[in-house]
């Protein structure tokens, strides 16, 4: 093992520098964008609906607003988490089902595509009828997550190379055993790719779901801030929802990297 270590280390060192440089460029780009946004706000270049970012952050930092923002945030995050977990379980479950019972696969594929093609706005009246106003955000999140996870898990389950299938065949493995021992572990990198895609969609889905009459949440804040012309509040809600998406996405990407290193 020691014989292999130096090679791995030098590879890591060689990969470190371009990685750092990319991160640096990224940071500079973000800083420039933030600066431009701030200047547009300071000089009122796009009218009164574009405030300076510093005033948005001041609003976010003001303890007087923390209860309002905190309640909305925790509602939306909870919906995203519950809907996300349901979606992940359903997506993985359907993908496993399609793999174990191949006759079901074309039907499941088409069903998933149809569900995804119908916009949440069109489904909303039905969802509200079925689940009520509070359940709708969870269902919107669950639907979009199910689709993304189903697609990524299905394609992941097909990635295991032929020699591994040959091996399991000569060992006398049944379909289910092969799925558990080879296909599922080999699918994990693709599944986590899907999770990184689904993470921001979870926050987005919860926010949009709240537009159909929910009583709490970031989506509700958006609507009421717009109706009452509370520009600071509107922007504060937007910043929170973006930060949430970014944090979830970042966590998913970190997990994806670790999984890919181990399983691919």
């Amino acid at each position: 093992m020691t014989a292999v270590r130096p090679g791995t280390q030098s590879a890591a060192r060689a990969g470190m520098r371009p990685g750092l440089r990319t991160a640096l460029y990224g940071l500079v780009g973000v800083a420039v964008l933030l600066l431009i946004a701030e200047l547009i706000g300071q000089f009122g270049l796009l009218g009164t609906t574009w405030p300076p970012l510093t005033s948005v952050f001041a609003f976010l930092a003001d303890p007087a607003n923390h209860t309002l923002l905190g309640n909305a945030l925790s509602t939306t995050v909870t919906e995203a988490a519950v809907g996300g977990l349901i979606g992940i379980a359903a997506g993985v479950g359907f993908a496993l089902l399609a793999s174990l019972v191949p006759v079901l696969a074309p039907g499941l594929d088409r069903f998933a595509a149809v569900i995804d093609a119908v916009p949440a706005v069109a489904l909303a009246p039905f969802l509200i009828l079925i689940l009520g106003r509070e359940g709708t955000p969870v269902l919107v999140v669950a639907l979009s997550t199910t689709f993304i996870i189903y697609i990524s898990m299905s394609s992941g389950l097909a990635t295991a190379a032929r020699p591994y299938h040959d091996l399991l065949a000569v060992l006398g493995a049944r379909r289910g055993t092969r799925l558990r021992l080879v296909d599922v572990p080999a699918a994990l990198p693709k599944l986590f790719d899907g999770l990184a895609l689904a993470a921001p969609a979870m926050i987005l889905g919860a926010t949009i779901g709240e537009w159909f009459g929910a009583r709490r949440g970031l989506g509700v804040l958006f609507i009421s801030a717009m109706q009452n012309y509370r520009i600071d509040l509107l922007w504060a809600a937007a910043v929170l929802s973006v930060l949430c998406s970014l944090v979830l996405y970042g966590a998913a990407v970190v997990a994806q990297r670790a999984i890919a290193r181990r399983f691919a």
């Binding site: 093992m1 591994y164 040959d166 091996l167 065949a169 000569v170 060992l171 006398g172 021992l181 399983f263």
Partner: protein, 257 residues
Amino acid sequence: MPSRDIALLDVAKTYPLKRGAALAALDGISLDIANGEFVALLGPSGCGKSTVLRIVAGLEEPTSGSVSVGGASPQALSRAHRLGVAFQEHSLLPWLTVRQNIALPYSVAGRKIDGAHIQDLIELVGLVGFEDARPKQLSGGMRQRASIARALVLEPEVLLLDEPFGALDAVTRRRMNRELGRIWAELRITTLLVTHDVDEAVLLADRVVVMTGRPGRVRHIEDIDLPLREHSELTRTPEFHDIVDRLTGLLDATKDA
């Protein structure tokens, strides 16, 4: 130790290629391997050695002719978890450690993992200290040794080895040959070894089958009567070198053909 015989009767294999073309890989292979016999399959690369092994393993169906293992289909043997195969590509699962890879056949067969037995095999193939390493961290030769240990772990009734020492340097290769010979003399499992190394074939096998170039046919079968597995010092005798020279000549002739 229970074991099985292998019977190939007039086996031909044609692979379909693009646009209706076909590749004749094997033609009229007949070969009987007795219960507890060690047969080496020798031939130039591309002559269909791996194809023979994959047919015996039940991974390919012969285009014509028949194959049986212990009087039944090859698949029946694998379904009973009584077949051990070390592939040309090691096919160790990259997310498992060496120990977990060697334990895999237990999980597939739904049997309790025998840690002590696995440790014995790890010692046998010289991977002590690498039990918890992942395949990526091993050299090609170490991976092949792990895959041999995995093939042996359930004490199979038929053992199929496809160039198992191909990635080893000459010295390690001979050491592994002697080790395999020693293990085999104890277990006496019906074994088919595919190789292009003449010394290795003569050293290990009871019979050496020399194949022709593509499409592969049986060109010559040599009975090896020297007790080389038990007495590897006999490789220094003229008898050994006679056989090796003769078989090498046959191999060269197939290459020219």
